[in-house]
């Protein structure tokens, strides 16, 4: 079972209208990921740029950042201890990705990074490839809840469909893999129908961290956590809800607003650290309203002012 990380930091989606801007964004993301990784806090890569404009696709950005995480000669085998948080979380929408394609990109990133990538899935409708299928279902009343439940089930099945143990590579007998070890998704729901196994293997013991937005999460959905406007910061043993803390460092100093699902804090590192300490019994998504290039410095200062999480120390002891 993957343990939902207590704290996740969202990378401010910065516009990248050209190559120079893209280089700046990548450099900022690398710096932020380095600071967050040192503290075993995952960095969430959003789908869109704050304030609109072209952002960098988060799975491509994760592919670039992966080079800092793991050297190529060690990749391919998941060495992450069970329950340790991933280092990157890629955001993706159901409305833009057929489940097979998304499952495969995340699985590939996990093979590249030894299991260091999770997914935040936003269930916001059917993607055009699925909806163009001749057998595509008509819109159903509870479509979002149904869609999310099925999408999650398809992902879960696909991610364990090609156990790495199936790779044999026996030169003498000419047997490359054992197809009987494959576990095809064989999913036929009301919304999605996905037959096959993925073509990207991972060790069967690996479980990919999967977060979803709150809108359609139901008790039957096997997710590791919920981020969204409806999550309300309430704890649930099966799938913890994340409280969103928005920190505006350039703000005036007083809390700008509080609601059950979101706390907005303005001002200094100490003010933000205080809010995070108060919320430390739960699960928090931290959004920093600042330029992407400042995120690493701000995070360093913030982490200085926070006690380390137990899971972080455990994880760091393990990787040493």
């Amino acid at each position: 079972m993957t343990t939902a990380p207590r704290l996740i930091v969202e990378f401010p989606g910065a516009p990248a209208p050209d190559a120079e801007a893209a280089r700046t964004v990548v450099a900022a993301a690398r710096a932020a990921a380095a600071v967050a990784t040192a503290r075993s806090v995952p960095l969430l890569l959003p789908e869109t740029a704050d304030g609109g404009g072209p952002g960098l696709d988060p799975s491509v950005l994760a592919g670039i950042l992966a080079a800092d995480l793991i050297a190529p000669h060690t990749s391919g085998t998941v060495r992450r201890p069970a329950g340790a948080p991933p280092r990157l979380i890629v955001a993706a929408s159901s409305s833009r990705n057929a489940p097979y394609n998304l499952a495969r990109r995340i699985q590939s990133l996990n093979r590249i990074t030894c299991g260091q990538v999770g997914l935040f899935l936003r269930a916001d409708g059917l993607d055009p490839v699925t909806s163009a299928a001749p057998s595509s279902p008509p819109t159903i009343a509870d479509s979002h809840a149904r869609l999310l439940a099925e999408y999650v089930e398809v992902l879960r099945r696909l991610w364990v469909s090609f156990p790495e143990e199936a790779l044999v590579g026996d030169r003498d007998t000419g047997r490359f893999a054992d197809p009987r070890s494959l576990v095809p998704a064989s999913f036929a729901g009301e919304v999605y129908s996905v037959a096959g196994a993925l073509n990207v293997p991972l060790p069967s013991a690996h479980r990919t961290l999967l977060l979803t937005d709150a809108v359609a999460a139901g008790p039957a959905v096997s997710v590791d956590g919920v981020i969204g406007p409806d999550s309300g910061g309430q704890e649930d043993a099966a799938a913890p809800n994340y409280l969103t803390v928005t920190w505006i460092p350039a703000g005036g100093g007083a809390p700008a607003g509080t609601s059950p699902e979101e706390v907005v804090v303005t001002g200094t590192v100490d003010a933000a650290a205080r809010v995070l300490r108060e919320a430390s019994a739960g699960h928090v998504l931290l959004r920093v309203r600042a330029a992407a290039s400042q995120l690493a410095t701000l995070l360093e200062a913030l982490f200085e002012a926070l006690p380390a999480q137990h899971e972080s120390r455990d994880f760091q002891a393990h990787v040493k």
């Binding site: 055009p128 590579g169 490359f176």
Partner: protein, 427 residues
């Protein structure tokens, strides 16, 4: 593209076709049998390709697990994230990835690939394919594969839409503007519909021509198709696939070729040829001549017509036995195989290039990484010595490496494949 007389040079990509082009490539003693499932395999080859000043690395792909996995490796890593990972550790080598027009959404694909192009500094090329087969279709809610013609109609629409989004990126601000104007469009497929699609969109064409005459005829077809769409044929680079088997002597190369044929797992080779010919070969006498009569014509084949045409070409030309045909194909992807010393392979490359049959090659080494090491260490220096291949990069983007202009106009009209004429009906 003009020949060397025009001051231009050969273009060479390496197709990192997992463990190598042959069905038994993964079994060669010098490589690790599971190498193609490691990241290091791809990063190392890309770095080596960059050091040798190649135009690009090329990744084939499909959103489906190969049915022959029991006998040989398949394509695995999803190309956009793998190429991003490679981009992080290289700075000049071009990065060509295959993405299905059948099972990707144009808007999402345009945005993801634009990001890859931008973060790599303008090194990306999109190999547009249609995805055949019921197995892939069933991963996307379909009961069976879309028919050949409709796959190409969709390919044309998706490509037009993606290219249009890229071309308008600087103005619309909806996507990152490309450092190379826009990513290079690559296409393979020699069916009638494939040639038409290439004429409409392709800037680089990857082919499976077996003979010089076939290659020259293919170029004429492409030129005509490009002209139909108001494009300049000289702004299209044709790069046939070339499987290389290299030895320090001719005898050594031939022995290597024999070994590779021997290493192909027989059930795999038979299964593959059975599906290409459309009947089960399990019960035929492998030493009997291939029966040409009764085989369907290419236009009636539902899978890859390109490779089926190539198989028919070998049958018509050589009248082989089934076993000889299996040997000739080598359990490979069906591209032309050259066997010899580095000098002989350079001779072959030079001959095709000077004849106007090829602007360069998509090289598919016999086994990876070792066969590519040999190509880079021995064939590339020979081509450089002959003045056929660059010794330094002249630019930083894939488009600059390929010496291809950004074509001035993007057709605003909808693609014309549907109902384009009687010749399309049977494609």
């Amino acid at each position: 593209m003009t020949g060397p007389q025009g001051g231009r040079q050969l273009h060479i990509n390496v197709n990192i076709l997992n463990a190598g082009v042959f069905g038994g490539s993964w079994r060669v003693p010098e490589n690790h049998p599971l190498s193609a499932y490691t990241l290091k395999h791809y990063v190392d080859i890309a770095k080596k390709a960059e050091a040798a000043k190649l135009d690009a690395v090329f990744l084939a792909d499909g959103p489906v697990i190969e049915k022959d996995l029991e006998y040989r490796p398949g394509n695995s890593f999803e190309p956009s994230v793998l190429l991003a990972r490679i981009a992080a550790q290289t700075s000049l080598i071009g990065l060509i990835g295959t993405f299905s027009s059948s099972y990707n959404d144009a808007s999402e694909l345009a945005s993801r690939l634009a990001a890859l192009d931008t973060v790599s500094g303008g090194r990306f090329g999109w190999n547009v394919v249609t995805t055949a087969g019921a197995a892939a279709a069933a991963n996307f809610g379909r009961d069976g594969e879309p028919e050949h013609a409709s796959r190409y109609v969709r390919a044309s629409e998706v490509t037009a839409s993606v290219v249009s989004a890229w071309a308008g990126a600087a103005e619309s601000g909806a996507l990152p503007a490309s450092p190379q104007g826009r990513p290079v469009v690559v296409q393979a497929g020699a069916s009638k519909a494939g040639i038409r699609l290439a004429g409409e969109h392709a800037e680089v064409i990857f082919t499976a021509a077996q003979t010089l005459d076939e290659a020259l005829a293919f170029r004429r077809d492409i030129d005509a198709a490009a002209a139909t769409f108001g494009r300049r044929p000289e702004e299209i680079a044709i790069l046939p696939g070339l499987s290389t088997v290299i030895g320090s002597t001719e005898a050594e190369a031939k022995e290597r070729r024999r070994l590779l044929a021997e290493l192909v797992p027989l059930p795999y080779a038979i299964g593959r040829l059975s599906s290409q010919l459309g009947f089960d070969l399990k019960h035929v006498d492998l030493d009997a001549p291939v029966r040409r009569e009764g085989l369907p014509e290419p236009e009636a084949a539902t899978g890859s017509q390109t490779f089926y045409r190539m198989v028919l070409g070998i049958i018509d030309r050589d009248n082989p036995t089934y076993r000889q045909l299996l040997h000739a194909l080598g359990g490979g992807a069906g591209h032309r195989i050259v066997v010899g010393t580095p000098e002989q392979i350079a001779d072959d490359i030079e001959h095709w290039y000077r004849s106007g049959a090829a602007d360069g090659f998509n090289v598919m080494p016999d086994a990876l990484p070792s066969g590519f090491d040999q190509f880079v260490d021995h064939v590339v220096p020979e081509l450089q010595r002959r003045g056929l291949f660059r010794t330094e990069y002249q630019g930083t983007t894939l488009r600059e490496h390929l010496n291809l202009p950004v074509q001035a106009t993007v057709r605003r009209e909808l693609p014309v494949l549907a109902g384009a004429g009687p010749s399309q009906g049977a494609a």
